[in-house]
Symmetry: C2
């Protein structure tokens, strides 16, 4: 008699968690926050509802984990763009922009995850902390590049404020482009962002040269 087919397969917790995270990402993309429940995720991962509770505290915990996972992938993509660019802070900053407006960063599915995560920020202090760190890291990289450009070109600027404004603009363009890609294009976003750097390099934003505080 042939060996009976195993009714299920055991996974190491780490592996199973990653599968559940992937299922959660799919749910958020296809069904939105409202349609993403413990049961919906379990069904999509071909797993019983109870298993989700065994690995995560609840659906919010799962969403945070999903944000952490895809957030790391995004950060990695941006890091690779910077490291793969030619030497010099300006080249690296421009490479950063290029990477920001193409997959896997520019991705409708990503926005669904971000929206869910943002909606958790207000009520959950733990989530708020994660968000704060992610954004601080994100801005820190840009601030460093901007400061390097200023030093190289020998002009003064408050790199902190400049980075704040630049990330806000990138975020805004990214958000709008994910929400509705028909109003303007990837190429428009790229031109706008590159023009900002052109201006920075040309000594623009002189009003930001006084260090705040």
């Amino acid at each position: 008699m042939a060996a009976a087919e195993p009714r299920f397969t055991r996974d190491a917790p780490e592996i199973r968690k990653r599968k559940l995270i992937k299922a959660t990402a799919q749910c958020l993309a296809e069904l939105g926050h409202a349609g993403t429940s413990v049961r919906a995720v379990a069904a999509r991962a071909n797993v019983s509802p109870g298993l989700v509770a065994h690995h995560f505290k609840g659906i919010d915990d799962l969403i945070v984990a999903t944000y952490g996972h895809v957030g790391a992938r995004v950060a990695e993509a941006l890091t690779q763009a910077i490291e793969g660019a030619a030497d010099g802070p300006e080249s690296k900053l421009r490479a950063f922009i290029e990477a920001s407006f193409k997959p896997p960063v520019l991705d409708r599915d990503l926005l669904a995850i971000w929206l869910s995560f943002w909606s958790l920020v207000r009520r959950d202090p733990g989530v708020r902390k994660v968000h704060k760190k992610v954004y601080a890291d994100y801005r820190q990289r840009l601030e460093q590049l901007i400061a390097d450009i200023a030093r190289t070109r020998c002009f003064g600027i408050d790199a902190h404020l400049a980075a704040l404004g630049f990330t806000a603009m990138l975020d805004g363009l990214w958000l709008e482009l994910c929400l509705d890609p028909t109003t303007f294009s990837r190429e428009d976003a790229l031109r706008i962002a590159h023009a900002w750097i052109d201006d920075l390099v040309a000594g623009g934003f002189r009003a930001l040269t006084v260090r705040r505080r």
Copy 2:
């Protein structure tokens, strides 16, 4: 014998809808998208669940109506800021900025409504249409002011692209400030936005002078 107290009061549909919209805004602010249900809204409005169905198609319809209502109030606040400012496009643009970073525009509760609305954009074509129009109007006003500044100062710029970038920056700053007011301040946002205008006025963003299309 005293007249019996009426068990409930009748409202004109328009009045009742506004009350339900107000209750929805409170729900979104306090409970988030996940906690905002037909029943939660009904309870908050001291009304039976059935009444909500009588006035709105469902919770999504109610959220869209809420977005429309508060969106109109925001647009009105910005319009008043522009009209109350001194003559000249630059003054008006700066007044627009000032209004963007104080209540009722800069308001945590507003973000909760926006997040819910954004999450509906993807799946509901009607919502997508509303979003598109709101943003088009919003940008159109800034584009006009920017074009006026360029004409007054006799320099060329693609006002459309410039407005796209500027609104993205304002949106990004607004979003981050609502999500986490501790990383940077209202005043930082104002300095950044004003610096962008300083730069525009000084003839910055020359890379955007070629008209697209």
